[in-house]
């Protein structure tokens, strides 16, 4: 069960703003999904190592060679706002 407060907490972590209606829906839907997921709690997984990657690859290295990358103007071309050759964002201090 995930309650209203938890929904609002997780939404803050995820930088999402939910309407009052969405909070209620999310609480119900996530609770249903989590109820199902919680069944993995019944398994005995003592001593089982976690899998983070399925195909054995270790130290994927390539030669450290300088190569051309995206030109600045191309990298900035899709930006919503640009100033002085960089991405322009609102002030972090503003409310």
């Amino acid at each position: 069960m995930i309650d209203r407060e938890q929904v609002l907490h997780v939404a803050r972590l995820a930088r999402l703003e939910l309407t009052e209606e969405e909070v209620g829906q999310m609480s119900e839907e996530l609770s249903n999904v989590l109820d199902h997921i919680e069944k993995i709690g019944e398994l005995d997984l003592e001593g089982v190592p976690p899998t983070t990657h399925v195909i054995e690859v270790s130290n994927a290295l390539r030669p450290d060679v300088v190569e051309p990358s995206l030109p600045r103007d191309v990298a900035l071309a899709s930006a919503p706002a640009v100033a002085d050759g960089g991405f322009l964002v609102p002030s972090p201090q503003a409310e």
Binding site: K39, T51, S78
Partner: protein
Amino acid sequence: MATTDLTALSAAQAVEAIGRGDLDPTELFEAYRQAATREDLNAYLWVAEDAPEPPAAGAPLAGVPLAVKDLFCTEGVPSQAGSKILEGYRPPYTASVVARLAAAGAPLLGKTNQDEFAMGSSNENSAFGPVLNPWDRTRVPGGSSGGSAAAVAAGCAPWALGTDTGGSIRQPAALCGIVGLKPTYGTVSRYGMVAFASSLDQAGPLTRDVTDAALLLRHMVGYDERDSTSVSFPPGEVVLPSAESLAGIRLGVPEELTGAGSEQGVGIEPGVLASFRATLELAEQLGATIETCHLPHAPHALSAYYVLAPAEASSNLARYDGVRYGLRVQDGGLLGMYTKTRSQGFGKEVKRRIMLGAYSLSSGYYDAYYGRAQRVRTKIAEDFRAAFERFDFVVTPTSPSVAFELGAKTGDPLSMYFNDYCTVPMSLAGIPAISIPNGLSEGLPTGFQLAGPAFSENRILDAAHALEQAIGFDARPGRTA
């Protein structure tokens, strides 16, 4: 040749016809361009305006055009991953696999609709509207690669690229009556694919037949230094399948995934089960031996998947913040901009999965959810390894049901997630699996799934080819009944 004759050729047949000088690639491209422009399934989000220059002489794919799922970055061409947050985004570079195929002579025909960020099993989560199933326009094509599957099934593309994270190639292929292959994780570069769950995402072909799947895959695989999880495809190239017999092949039928009334009453529809069993009999006639096998942890695969995939997604989708590209919604300061942009740019299911992922990764819950799910993943991979000591392939129905009606499952996320019941275990294990058309149930296509050990694509394609010949399915909607 008349336009309909041109688009009736399979991709491999078209490659041959061009090679013989019987078919002009520009004419072929134009025939598909017109079909893609005219289609009324909402399968395409963008279609090329002009036919490209014919490919270099001897290009192995000879200029046969390719439909590409929206989430592959294509330079200068809208690449929106089915999301409003990327509406109109035209990337400055092209995904490795798309570039590789273009170099082999498969030019970009169009970008296909999909569930937003590949999250969905019905294509109803696209910000650009649902795709309709060409077999019955009141039904879903499956998802998330629904546009690619519908386009191929309807003859509006010779073949298409999709991506599969938990079944997103195989399930729509099954529901649209075509072939869909999820390769071994790492064999196809993920560079330039909009990420959903990076440890699971894998690109693969959606095609009309098994030969086309092999031909397209042959030019997709290969090491790419721009993807740190990329591996070489051993031992060399993908071979076009020729087998017509299954002599000596041992098929394992996992009781946990196919048993009647399995876990939670996730029943497989009787019609789907009947066509699955009929194909097992065919396989036996072709020389295969069939036995029940066990994947004891498979019933927990869906739970582990719906922890791991949303957790990875919540991290991957943090990049959509209105700063560098895509939607920006201003609201006071920086934090307000992030929050408004994401709240207005993401759709319902994407928000749900981000929330689920952020929750299971949050302090106090990490070990209970994420940590445990990673251990379940280990057990599932071990289950498959054990099964493959006794069997060449594990086989199941691809999807528990035929294509369902639009809107039938949108109100109940959990019932939607159960579409992936038989496809998610292979994704967690990183192993290859193919879905081939397996006849009709209630007039709608069903799929037969074959999964094998990592890097067994050539053997899977051969076995799938033998079955395909024996099943004799006509992949054109409305032609078989």
